[in-house]
C-alpha cells in the first residue's frame, strides 16, 4: 500500500469517509485506471488532479456508481461496498456534479433539482413546496434564478449553477465536484467557495476536480494526483507548491505558464463596425490587427459568445458591417465566414463543437473537406489521414486511434479536437471562445502556443476567456464587454484586474438594487 | 404439415396438382366462403384419386403490386393452375402472361382480368348493383318518398367489382328525383364505413347503399342506431349483415355464390390441367336477400 495515503499530515486524522483501493477499469482499447487508490476524510476538500484523460472522471464515476469497476475495492464509512450502483451511492449520501451538464432541459429549475426525489403531498406532486425549497437553496447560493424557469432557457453558466445547487440540495455527506467552475466566472466561483467552506465545516467530504490550479489555495486541504490512469501521489496542500503539483501531474517540469511571444503588429485584418445582433450584442465595434491576440474579458452573460456567433454568422445580425482585409464581407452563415477566412472554436463543445457519434478523424476533417476533396467532391483518404494525424500530433490529443468516436475521449481531449479542427486551414482570423475550458495545465500551454504561433504567422486571434490571469497573460490587447457592449479597451501593459473588473461591471449598478432580472432583459 | 396443402404421396394413385387460390385480400367472410368451396372440391377429388396440393394466398389489402407478387411466387412455386379474383381488369395481365408462358392455367373467380383465361366464374356486378338500386327506390316509394339524398359507401375506386356495383346502382336512379351524393370510399372497413354512413344520415339522406361486406355492415349499423325511415341496402351475406336484415335495419343484400365459385373453380382447374374441356363461363347468380328469405342463408 502506498505510504502517502496513510501518513498525511495537517488535517486532523478524522473519520475516513471513503477508502478506494486498487481500482482497475478498462474501456475498449484503453486502460483508464490501473490500481488506483484514494482516501477521503470527513470535513476535508481533496483536490483530485491530473492531466486530461488521467482518469479522474472515470474514478469518480465509479465511486458514484455510474460505471462499474473491473476490480478493486471501495469502502464507504468503513464498510465495503460490493456493487456500487447509482442508487446505492445516493443512499450512501454520495452526490456528484458531473463534468458535462446533465439537465433535463425541458423541465424547470425546481423540477430538475427535485428530479427523482419529488416532494409529495398525499401522493401528489407538491410543486409549491419544491419551489419554496428551491428558492431557499438558490438563495443560499446568492443565485437569482426563478425556480419556474425552463432550464434550457438558461445560459450554460446558470445551468451549471443549478447543477451545483441540485447536488447540494441532497445534503450529501460525500460530494464530488468534477470541474464545477469551468463554466463559471469569478463571482459565482467565490459564492461556490463560501458554500464549500460551509459544507466542510458541517463535516462534508468533498472531492474537487479542477484544471484551474490557482483556485485550489482557497479551499483545498489535500491533493491526490493521477497520471495516465495511475496513482502518483497524495500530499497536504499546505506542504506543497503549484510547480511541484504540476511536475507530478505532467511528469516533467513546466517552464512557463503563460508563454509570450512578440511579433510585429501589422495592418488591420478584421474590422467590426456597429454590430447589433439580437438582445445581447449592441453597437459593438473593434479592430483586430495582423499578428496580435486580442482578449475579450467580461462577466457571465456579457454577450461575448453572442458577439462571436454574430460575427461568425451563426446568429443573424440586425445591423453593422464586417470588414476583412479592407473589404466588406457579407456573412450570413458560418460557411460564408469560413470561406472568407474567419473561423470560430465555440465554447460549448457538446452542443456546438463536436459530432460526438462520429469519429475523431471525421470531426477534424469536417470543416476542411473543401481542402480534402477533388472537383467531384470525393474525399481523398490519404490527404485526410495526413491532415488528421498532423493535427492530433501537434495538439497531443490522447486517443487509441483516430477512428474512435469523439464521445469516448476525456473532456479535455474533446476540447482539443474542437480547437484542432480549425487549425488545418489557413485562416485570417481565428476566434477562440473559452478554448482552455476544462483543459489541463500542460494542454493550456499547448493551446497558448498555438495561439502564439498563429499570431506569428500574421493571423488575427480573438481570445474570449473568463479567466482573468490567462487573458492578461496571453493577450496583447484586451476588450472588456458588459451587457452586450464593449465598455473598455486597454493595452495589456496597462491592464490590472481591478480596471478590467470595473469595465466589466460598468452597467452593473442596478445589481445593487437587487434587480438582476431586469438587468438581463433591460433592453426590452 | 400445413392445413391448406396436402403433400403429394407420389407412390399411390399418381396424379397430383398444385393449385393456388389468390384473392384480393383476406378479410371478408366472402373470401372464406370461396376457400370453403375450394376445399370441398379438393376433398371430393381426393376420393376419386386426384390429389390437389391447394394453397390460398392473399395480400393483406387490395393492392395490385402485392397481388402480382403473389402470382409470381405461385408460378415460381410450380403451381399448375391459379384461381384468381383480380383486383382490376388490367394490372395483373402481364404477370398472367408470364404465368401462362410457364404453363399455368388461369381461372377467374369473382372478378376477372382482361387477360384471356380458361374459364370465368363470376356474377354480373353491374346488374346486381342496378337491382339493388331498383329495390331501394321501390322501398322508398312504398314510404311515399320520391326525392331526397342517397349516400353510397364503397371500397375504393380501384376495385373493379365494387365500381361496377356502384355504377349499376347509379344507373337505376336515372330519371328519378333522388340525388346521389359524393360516394364515400372506406376500404371496406366496417367502422370507417359506419362513420361515413352516420355523416350521411346527419346530412339527411333518405337511402344508403353499401357496395361490399364491410360497407354494408357500416350502413346497417348506422341505420340501426338512427332508427326511423332511412332505407339501406347492400352486398354480401356475412353473419352480421343477415342479422341486420332479420332485425329490419337493412332492406336487403345482394348475395353471390362464393362457395360455388371456389368449388367449380377447382374442378375447372383440374380439368384444364388434364387438358380437358373447361366449359362455358359461369354466372353464379345473384339473389336478393331480404327479410323474407333470410332464413335460408343463415347457417
Amino acid at each position: 500500500m502506498n505510504k502517502d495515503l496513510i501518513f498525511t499530515k495537517g488535517v486532523k486524522m478524522q473519520e475516513k469517509l471513503v477508502e478506494i483501493r486498487n481500482i482497475n477499469k478498462s474501456f475498449p482499447g484503453v486502460k483508464a485506471l490501473v490500481d488506483v487508490s484514494l482516501d477521503l476524510y470527513k470535513g476535508e476538500v481533496l483536490a483530485l488532479l491530473g492531466e486530461n484523460g488521467a482518469g479522474k472522471s472515470t474514478l469518480m464515476k465509479i465511486l458514484s456508481g455510474v460505471y462499474q469497476k473491473d476490480s478493486g475495492s471501495i469502502k464507504v464509512y468503513g464498510k465495503e461496498v460490493e456493487e456500487m450502483t447509482a442508487k446505492r451511492a445516493r443512499e450512501l449520501g454520495i452526490a456528484i456534479i458531473h463534468q458535462e451538464l446533465n439537465m433535463c432541459s425541458h423541465l424547470s429549475v425546481a423540477e430538475n433539482i427535485f428530479l427523482g426525489r419529488e416532494k409529495l403531498k398525499s401522493g401528489l406532486l407538491s410543486d409549491n413546496e419544491m419551489k419554496r425549497e428551491t428558492e431557499k437553496i438558490l438563495k443560499r447560493f446568492q443565485m437569482d434564478i426563478d425556480p419556474d424557469t425552463i432550464v434550457g432557457d438558461l445560459s450554460v453558466s446558470k445551468q451549471q449553477m443549478v447543477e451545483i445547487a441540485k447536488a447540494l440540495s441532497t445534503q450529501a455527506k460525500i460530494l464530488i465536484m468534477d470541474e464545477p467552475t469551468s463554466a463559471l466566472t469569478s463571482k459565482e466561483i467565490n459564492e461556490l467557495f463560501s458554500v464549500i467552506k460551509q459544507l466542510k465545516a458541517e463535516g462534508c467530504g468533498i472531492v474537487y476536480i479542477s484544471h484551474r490550479l490557482e483556485e485550489l489555495s482557497h479551499i483545498v486541504d489535500r491533493v491526490t494526483i493521477l497520471r495516465d490512469g495511475q496513482y502518483i501521489k497524495s500530499m497536504d496542500f499546505a506542504s506543497t507548491t503549484l510547480p511541484e503539483i504540476i511536475t507530478y501531474m505532467v511528469g516533467r517540469e513546466l517552464k512557463e505558464k503563460f508563454p509570450r511571444v512578440e511579433s510585429k503588429r501589422g495592418k488591420t485584418i478584421l474590422e467590426v463596425n456597429h454590430l447589433n445582433a439580437g438582445k445581447m450584442v449592441k453597437d459593438v465595434s473593434f479592430q483586430l490587427r495582423e499578428g496580435e491576440i486580442v482578449g475579450v474579458a467580461g462577466l457571465m452573460g456579457a454577450g461575448r459568445t453572442e458577439m462571436t456567433r454574430a460575427v461568425f454568422g451563426v446568429d443573424s445580425k440586425d445591423s453593422g458591417e464586417i470588414i476583412l482585409d479592407g473589404e466588406q464581407v457579407l456573412i450570413h452563415k458560418p460557411k460564408d465566414a469560413i470561406k472568407a477566412g474567419i473561423v470560430l472554436a465555440p465554447e460549448d463543445r457538446k452542443r456546438d463543437g463536436l459530432c460526438t457519434k462520429l469519429s475523431v478523424k471525421e470531426n477534424i476533417s469536417l470543416p476542411n473537406l473543401d481542402l480534402l476533396c477533388n472537383l467531384l467532391g470525393v474525399v481523398s483518404r490519404s490527404r485526410e489521414n495526413g491532415m488528421v494525424s498532423k493535427t492530433i500530433k501537434s495538439l497531443k490529443i490522447k486517443l487509441p486511434e483516430d477512428t474512435v468516436k469523439a464521445e469516448s475521449l476525456s473532456g479535455g481531449n474533446q476540447q482539443k479536437v474542437v480547437v484542432g479542427k480549425w487549425l488545418a486551414r489557413n485562416s485570417r482570423v481565428v476566434i477562440f471562445d473559452e478554448p482552455t475550458r476544462g483543459i489541463d495545465v500542460a494542454a493550456k500551454v499547448e493551446i497558448y502556443n498555438i495561439m502564439n504561433e498563429l499570431k506569428q504567422q500574421g493571423v488575427g486571434v480573438l481570445f474570449i476567456s473568463s479567466e482573468m490571469p490567462e487573458v492578461m497573460g496571453i493577450s496583447d490587447r484586451i476588450l472588456v464587454m458588459c451587457d452586450g457592449r464593449i465598455t473598455g479597451e486597454l493595452d495589456t501593459k496597462d491592464a490590472t484586474g481591478d480596471i478590467i473588473l470595473s469595465y466589466a461591471t460598468k452597467f452593473d449598478k442596478k445589481l445593487e438594487d437587487g434587480n438582476r432580472e431586469s438587468q438581463e432583459w433591460r433592453q426590452v | 404439415k400445413d392445413k391448406g396443402s396436402v403433400t403429394t404421396d407420389s407412390g399411390s394413385k399418381g396424379e397430383s396438382y398444385k393449385v393456388y387460390l389468390i384473392t384480393m385480400d383476406q378479410m371478408d367472410q366472402y373470401w372464406a366462403n370461396i376457400d370453403k368451396g375450394c376445399k370441398k372440391a379438393v376433398d371430393e377429388l381426393k376420393e376419386s384419386g386426384i390429389t390437389v396440393d391447394y394453397k390460398w394466398s392473399a395480400p393483406d389489402k387490395k393492392d395490385d403490386a402485392q397481388q402480382i407478387e403473389k402470382i409470381n411466387n405461385a408460378v415460381a412455386d410450380g403451381a399448375k393452375a391459379i384461381l384468381l379474383a383480380a383486383n382490376g381488369p388490367t394490372a395483373v395481365n402481364a404477370s398472367l402472361k408470364e404465368a401462362e408462358a410457364a404453363g399455368v392455367k388461369i381461372v377467374y373467380v369473382d372478378s376477372p382480368a382482361d387477360y384471356p383465361a380458361v374459364r370465368t366464374l363470376t356474377t354480373d356486378n353491374e346488374a346486381a348493383g342496378k337491382t339493388a338500386g331498383e329495390k331501394l327506390i321501390e322501398a322508398l316509394k312504398a314510404k311515399n318518398i320520391t326525392s331526397g339524398d342517397i349516400g353510397i359507401i364503397s371500397v375504393n375506386t380501384s376495385t373493379d367489382s365494387t365500381m361496377k356495383r356502384e355504377n349499376g346502382f347509379r344507373s337505376a336512379f336515372e330519371g328519378t328525383q333522388f340525388k346521389i351524393l359524393e360516394t364515400q370510399y372506406c376500404e371496406g372497413e366496417a367502422a370507417q364505413s359506419q362513420n361515413a354512413a352516420s355523416n350521411f344520415l346527419a346530412q339527411g339522406c333518405v337511402g344508403l347503399y353499401g357496395c361490399n361486406e364491410g360497407s354494408t355492415v357500416g350502413v346497417g349499423n348506422a341505420i340501426k342506431e338512427a332508427g326511423g325511415s332511412v332505407v339501406g341496402i347492400g352486398f354480401d351475406t356475412s353473419d352480421a349483415i343477415l342479422e341486420l336484415i332479420e332485425q329490419g335495419y337493412l332492406l336487403g343484400a345482394m348475395a353471390q355464390n362464393p362457395s360455388t365459385m371456389g368449388y367449380e373453380g377447382i374442378k375447372t382447374a383440374v380439368k384444364a390441367i388434364k387438358g380437358e374441356e373447361a366449359g362455358e363461363n359461369l354466372d353464379t347468380g345473384v339473389t336478393a336477400v331480404t327479410k323474407d328469405n333470410v332464413a335460408d342463408f343463415k347457417k
Binding site: 455510474v66 447509482a86 442508487k87 445516493r90 458531473h98 446533465n102 439537465m103 433535463c104 432541459s105 425541458h106 423541465l107 424547470s108 423540477e111 430538475n112 428530479l115 427523482g116 426525489r117 419529488e118 409529495l120 401522493g123 401528489l124 406532486l125 419556474d148 425552463i150 426590452v524 | 383476406q26 378479410m27 371478408d28 367472410q29 372464406a32 389489402k61 351524393l181 359524393e182 360516394t183 364515400q184 370510399y185 376500404e187 371496406g188 372497413e189 366496417a190 367502422a191 359506419q194 362513420n195 361515413a196 352516420s198 355523416n199 350521411f200 346527419a202 346530412q203 339527411g204 364491410g214 355492415v217 357500416g218 349499423n221 342506431e225 356475412s238 353473419d239 352480421a240 342479422e243
Partner: protein
C-alpha cells in the same frame, strides 16, 4: 403578462393556442358551406368520431413525451376489436371478454416498454415489430376471418361503448373524457408524470437522478395500450363484429393528433390538452369535408396542407419572427 408567462412556462401551450384558432376557422368555413354541419345531430355525431382519435392521441402523447414512439397502436386497436369479438361470439360474457382483452393489450404494452427500456431496442423497431405481431394476432384469433356478429347478448356492451347516452352525451364521448381526465391528472400532477417528462427530456440525466427508466417507460406504453384497447372495444361495439383491419393506420393519426397539439416527437415536451385540439382538427376535417361534398381526391391534399400549416404557424410564432415585431410596435 402574467398569463402569457404562465402559458410560456406551461409545456407547449403556444402551439395549442395557434392550433385552436385554426380549428375555429375550419369549423366556421364548414358551417358556412353546409349549415347542417352545425346541426345538433352532427354535433353528437362529430364528437363521437373525435373520441377514438383523442384516445389514441393521448396514448401516443404519453409515449412521445418519453421520447419514444408507439407504432403498434393501430394494430392493438385491431387486436382488441378481434379478441373481444371472438370471445363474445364464442359465448363469453361481454364484460369478461373486455377484461381478457384489456389484459392481452396490456401484455403487448408491457412488451413494448420492456423491449425499449430494458432491452434498449430503438422504439421504432420494437413497436414496428409488435405492430406486425399484434396485427397477426388480430388475424389468427378467429382463424383469419372477421368474426360473426357478437349477437344480442352483447347489446349492453354495445350500448356502453357506443350506442348509449348518459347525461345527454354519447357514452363514447364520456369514456374518452374520463380517460383523458385521469391521464391528464397523472401526467401533470403525479411523480410518474414528472418522470415521463424527465426521461423524454434527457434520459441520462433522469437516470442519474434516480428515475426508474424501465418502470416509467413501461407505464407510458401501458397507457398507450389501454387507450388503444378502449378504441378497439369501441369499434367492436360500433360494428357489432370483429374486423381484422380495424385501426389500420391509426398509429400515424395518433402521432398527427399529438404533434398538431404541441407534443414533440423528440420527447420531453407537450401536454394532452393540445391533443384534444389535434384530435378535433383531424375529426372535423374528415367530417366536414364529407359535409361540403369535397371530392375524395382533394381531401387528402387539404388534410395534408392543414397538418403542415398548423404546425408551421407555431414554428413561425415561436421562432420569434412575430415576437420581435410585436415588441417593437
Amino acid at each position: 403578462m402574467n398569463l402569457a408567462k404562465k402559458m410560456k412556462a406551461s409545456r407547449g401551450m403556444g402551439q395549442v393556442i395557434t392550433v385552436t384558432i385554426g380549428l375555429i376557422i375550419l369549423c366556421i368555413v364548414f358551417g358556412i358551406l353546409n349549415p347542417n354541419f352545425f346541426s345538433g345531430r352532427n354535433a353528437g355525431n362529430l364528437f363521437r368520431q373525435i373520441a377514438p382519435i383523442l384516445l389514441i392521441g393521448v396514448g401516443q402523447s404519453y409515449v412521445l413525451i418519453t421520447g419514444n414512439i408507439d407504432l403498434s397502436i393501430g394494430s392493438l386497436v385491431g387486436m382488441s376489436c378481434m379478441v373481444s369479438a371472438t370471445l363474445m361470439t364464442k359465448g363469453m360474457n361481454p364484460w369478461m371478454a373486455v377484461l381478457l382483452t384489456l389484459f392481452s393489450c396490456l401484455l403487448v404494452g408491457l412488451a413494448n416498454g420492456l423491449l425499449v427500456a430494458k432491452l434498449k431496442l430503438p422504439p421504432f423497431i420494437a413497436t414496428l415489430g409488435t405492430m406486425t405481431i399484434a396485427r397477426g394476432i388480430a388475424q389468427i384469433v378467429n382463424n383469419n376471418y372477421n368474426t360473426d356478429s357478437i349477437g344480442e347478448k352483447a347489446e349492453g356492451f354495445r350500448n356502453f361503448f357506443y350506442y348509449g347516452k348518459s347525461f345527454g352525451l354519447y357514452n363514447t364521448i364520456w369514456i374518452a373524457l374520463v380517460l383523458w381526465v385521469i391521464f391528464n391528472f397523472i401526467l401533470s400532477k403525479t411523480r410518474t408524470g414528472r418522470h415521463i417528462y424527465a426521461i423524454g427530456s434527457n434520459l441520462e440525466a433522469a437516470k442519474l437522478s434516480g428515475v426508474d427508466i424501465v418502470g416509467t417507460t413501461v407505464k407510458a406504453f401501458l397507457v398507450s395500450s389501454i387507450c388503444a384497447c378502449t378504441v378497439g372495444l369501441i369499434i367492436c361495439a360500433t360494428s357489432g363484429m370483429g374486423t381484422m383491419d380495424a385501426g389500420n393506420g391509426y398509429e400515424l393519426y395518433a402521432v398527427a393528433a399529438s404533434v398538431i397539439g404541441g407534443v414533440s416527437t423528440l420527447g420531453g415536451q407537450g401536454n394532452i390538452l393540445g391533443t384534444i385540439i389535434g384530435a378535433a382538427i383531424w375529426g372535423v376535417l374528415q367530417n366536414g369535408l364529407q359535409f361540403v361534398g369535397a371530392p375524395v381526391a382533394i381531401r387528402n391534399i387539404v388534410i395534408g396542407i392543414i397538418v403542415i400549416v398548423s404546425v408551421l404557424l407555431d414554428v413561425i410564432v415561436r421562432s420569434g419572427k412575430f415576437h420581435n415585431k410585436a415588441i417593437k410596435v
